[in-house]
């Protein structure tokens, strides 16, 4: 079979070494807050000019996979999502590290990322052309329905529904700052030039989660409380693994499906996976307290997105997310136009990229597992020093993305906001979800209305919209339904 002949070049030592270097580099980039997988791939594209397509593209895929994984490190250890993809990992990863199980949390994240990555890679290698068709069905009404469904997560993530709704609506309000997606009119920029495209997402995230945590810790340090950290090994316990099974499988499938839909990506996937894991769990109240299945869900989902986002790219020539859009640039430079023709004209490249996805995932596992003790050491740094270094990282991270000084104010502003929200029991996660999904919701609502002459009924016209709108209703009603079921069982037992 030709496939084997096409896979052989991958095992040349220099190709393996390049993929390993890419994956390792991606891991480091992802672990540093503010440096994202997108940036890593884009910056290293010029290096691939002179490489063979399989070598160059697989190095970029390695950076992508390593970068999305690496984000979990700072999420778990520092409460600073290294990339937006890992924002949801903060919810259970950080509390777990606080309880002295940082090593096990990182181990869980590594295993979950690997399983998610491998499952999506299998789907990519076997079903890419068939599944890519799904991506084409998504028009404005479908994206709108998906975003609406995503927003219902807020209801189940917040203990207090009213406070959750307030956080979510605040997030949507904040996401409307900047140019109107349809008319281009500036909204709520108060004439500040740097806000022309709204609050930058990553600086906002860094402020919301990391800087706010520093503020909270400074209060605690000032109170004289300085807990001594112990860092556990690296393998999750048998109990943790068996509890996480469902979350892992569900996260991988959700990540794969969301990854195939262009324009959504790993941020959305990890939040939805987290919510579904929590909803399906027998002990939903443990989520958010340092519960391993929470990490398993988000990390399997965000790495599943990596391979899945390659599906529409390779099969249709449509990038599934921002990083694959940059990868498409890499393909074009090699003189390869991604799309249905690529499977016929350059099967070696397609098969080579499928294979590279597996190899990079394996390297990611090896490096991740090997480095856990090194990463965990971070927690041995005295609290005061660590807090100061996080502040420095926050500023560097927030500035390095756009080199826009306004982003620093954004970061500090969101830091203060996040601190206040934490103090008064408002969910930062709800705000974060709204920031991710708000723009998707708004622009597709507006675009859908524009394209259908303001006919609202067009939003319930296709099976996909009906599916997601149905899920939305179900999801919003779930707390009441589950309570009714519990009550039912209770009466039966009597």
């Amino acid at each position: 079979m030709d496939t084997i002949a096409f896979l052989a070049p991958l095992f040349a030592p220099q190709v393996l070494l390049t993929i390993a270097l890419g994956t390792f580099g991606g891991l480091v980039i992802g672990a540093l807050p503010g440096l994202t997988a997108t940036m890593g791939v884009a910056l290293l594209i010029p290096m691939t000019f002179g490489m063979s397509p399989v070598m160059g593209l697989n190095m970029l895929i390695g950076i992508y996979i390593g970068g999305i994984y690496g984000g979990c490190v700072s999420s778990i250890l520092l409460r600073t999502p290294g990339t937006p993809a890992s924002a949801a990992t903060v919810l259970d990863g950080y509390p777990m590290a606080q309880k002295g199980a940082a090593g096990r949390a990182l181990g869980m994240a590594t295993i979950a990322s690997t399983i998610g990555g491998l499952i999506a890679a299998v789907v990519l290698a076997t079903l890419a052309p068939q599944l890519a068709g799904i991506a084409l069905e998504f028009g404005a009404p479908e994206y709108f329905a998906l975003a609406l469904f995503g927003l219902t997560i807020i209801a189940s993530l917040s203990g207090d529904l009213l406070k959750g709704a307030i956080s979510g609506l605040l997030g949507i309000l904040i996401s409307t700052v900047g140019a109107d997606p349809i008319s281009g009119v500036m909204r709520y920029t108060f004439g500040i030039h740097g806000f022309a495209s709204g609050f930058a997402f990553t600086p906002a995230l860094i402020g919301l989660f990391a800087l706010s945590e520093v503020f909270t810790q400074m209060e605690r340090i000032a109170g004289g409380e300085e807990p001594i950290k112990s860092v556990s090994g690296r393998w999750p316990t048998r109990a943790e693994m068996s509890e996480s099974k469902g979350a892992l499988i569900r996260g991988s499938i959700i990540g794969t499906l969301i990854g195939i839909v262009p324009g959504t990506g790993s941020g959305t996937a990890s939040w939805i996976a987290y919510n579904e894991a929590r909803r399906a769990s027998k002990t939903p109240e443990k989520f958010g307290t340092g519960y391993a299945p929470g990490i398993a869900a988000t990390e399997s989902a965000n790495n599943a997105v990596c391979a899945a986002a390659l599906i529409p790219l390779l099969a249709l020539g449509i990038p599934g997310d921002v990083v694959t859009a940059v990868l498409m640039g890499g393909l074009l430079i090699q003189g390869l136009a991604p799309g249905p023709m690529l499977f016929q004209t350059n099967p070696d490249v397609v098969v080579g990229m499928f294979g590279g996805t597996f190899i990079a995932t394996i390297f990611m596992f090896i490096f991740g597992m090997a480095l856990i003790p090194v990463f965990s050491r971070i927690l041995m740094i005295p609290r005061r020093l660590l807090a100061m270094s996080i502040v420095v990282f926050c500023f560097i991270g927030a500035f390095s993305i756009n080199l826009n000084p306004v982003d620093l104010y954004t970061m500090v502003g969101f830091g203060v906001l996040g601190w206040g929200m934490q103090k008064f029991g408002f969910s930062q996660a709800a705000l974060c979800i709204a920031l991710i999904l708000g723009p998707l919701l708004e622009s597709n609502l507006r675009r859908g209305l524009l394209q259908n002459q303001d006919n609202v009924l067009s939003f319930i016209s296709t099976p996909i919209t009906l599916l997601f709108l149905g899920l939305t209703v179900l999801s919003a009603a779930w707390p009441y339904i589950s309570r009714a079921i519990v009550r039912d069982r209770a009466t039966q037992h009597q």
Binding site: T38, A42, I45, L136, A140, G184, A196, G335
Partner: protein, 318 residues
């Protein structure tokens, strides 16, 4: 005494100035790309920087400063110290269109044009399931119903070119803005819009596999990549449009530095290796000196002004 020092300092300053221009550049030149890394402008600027370093033994650092439709990075370069060490990728949207819409802290006349080395040609393509498949069918369809034409963002270059064509051809269109051209392309291949403006690189593979159908080329003459696709001009509509890849800087650079930079752009554009890499990326390598570049931009400024006026977007954000 004071006077003597003054004179000496002045003389020193003058010679330093002259010497500075003679062995420019003495330190790394920053090249601001007003978009995020990885897009077509960014990638071609990285090739420019590579070529520059190879030809002139100086360093050129690409600095991505995205945001505000390219307005933030362009502003940074236009307001930089005019010493030749901060330049920017001259991009159509932020230089020609944004100042007209408003909300920028610079105007067209604040821009110093240095030289153009490539253009991104544009085609109008019909999307999957569109009710037309060639130029004549497109115009015929537009007589009964405004075709929905996707673009890369409200007030972006793609919207202006589609509207400007509609104006010249006397048809009505409905512009559907997306968040970037890659989203528009997804909607196009999925059949959610009727047509869009695409680059040859974007349209080539898609039209070979039947996902898109080229309608017309926005050039004076037919292009090699699409020999069977007519131009609007040959169909009797006086309309051409392309986006450009050039260098700009702040006003106020001294003559020698400016002359050096202008010559450098020429040498980069004529370098064989540069031409090959950029052509492989789907760009159309062509050199235009500062005057021709500025004249081209000024022409588009006028086209954009009349389109924006019609769309009631002129000065909208001021």
């Amino acid at each position: 005494m004071i006077k003597a020092t003054f004179t000496a300092a002045a003389v020193a300053a003058l010679t330093a100035g002259a010497a500075g221009a003679a062995d420019f550049p003495q330190r790394p030149v920053q090249l601001v790309v007003p978009y995020s890394a990885g897009g077509s402008t960014d990638l071609s600027m990285r090739v420019v920087a590579d070529t520059f370093e190879r030809l002139f033994d100086g360093q050129m650092v690409v600095r991505n400063q995205p945001g505000g439709g390219g307005g933030i990075g362009s502003s940074a370069a236009i307001h930089a110290r005019p010493d030749g060490y901060t330049l920017a990728a001259g991009a159509q949207g932020p230089l020609v269109i944004l100042p007209l819409i408003g909300g920028t802290d610079y105007q067209f006349d604040d821009v110093e044009f240095i030289g153009l080395f490539a253009r991104s040609l544009q085609l109008m393509v019909a999307c999957a399931d569109a009710p037309f498949s060639d130029y004549d069918g497109f115009i015929e369809y537009a007589k009964t119903k405004a075709p929905q034409i996707g673009n890369s963002g409200a007030g972006g270059a793609n919207q202006i070119s589609a509207e400007a064509f509609a104006d010249a051809a006397g048809i009505a269109i409905e512009s559907v803005p997306f968040n970037g051209s890659s989203e528009a392309r997804t909607a196009c291949i999925g059949g959610h819009i009727d047509a869009m403006v695409a680059s040859p690189a974007e349209a080539k593979a898609a039209s070979e596999s039947g996902q898109m159908t080229p309608l017309f080329v926005m050039e004076d003459e037919r292009i090699d990549l699409f020999p069977d696709t007519p131009t609007a001009v040959e169909k009797g509509v006086d309309f051409t449009w392309s986006s450009w890849k050039g260098l700009i800087g702040p006003k106020g650079m001294d003559e020698e530095t400016l002359a050096w930079l202008r010559d450098a752009v020429k040498q980069v554009a004529e370098d064989e290796e540069f031409k090959k890499t950029l052509t492989d990326m789907g760009e159309f390598v062509t050199y235009e000196d500062a005057a021709a570049f500025e004249a081209r931009a000024r022409g588009e400024l006028e086209t954009s002004r009349s389109v924006l006026e019609k769309l009631e977007m002129l000065g909208m954000n001021n």
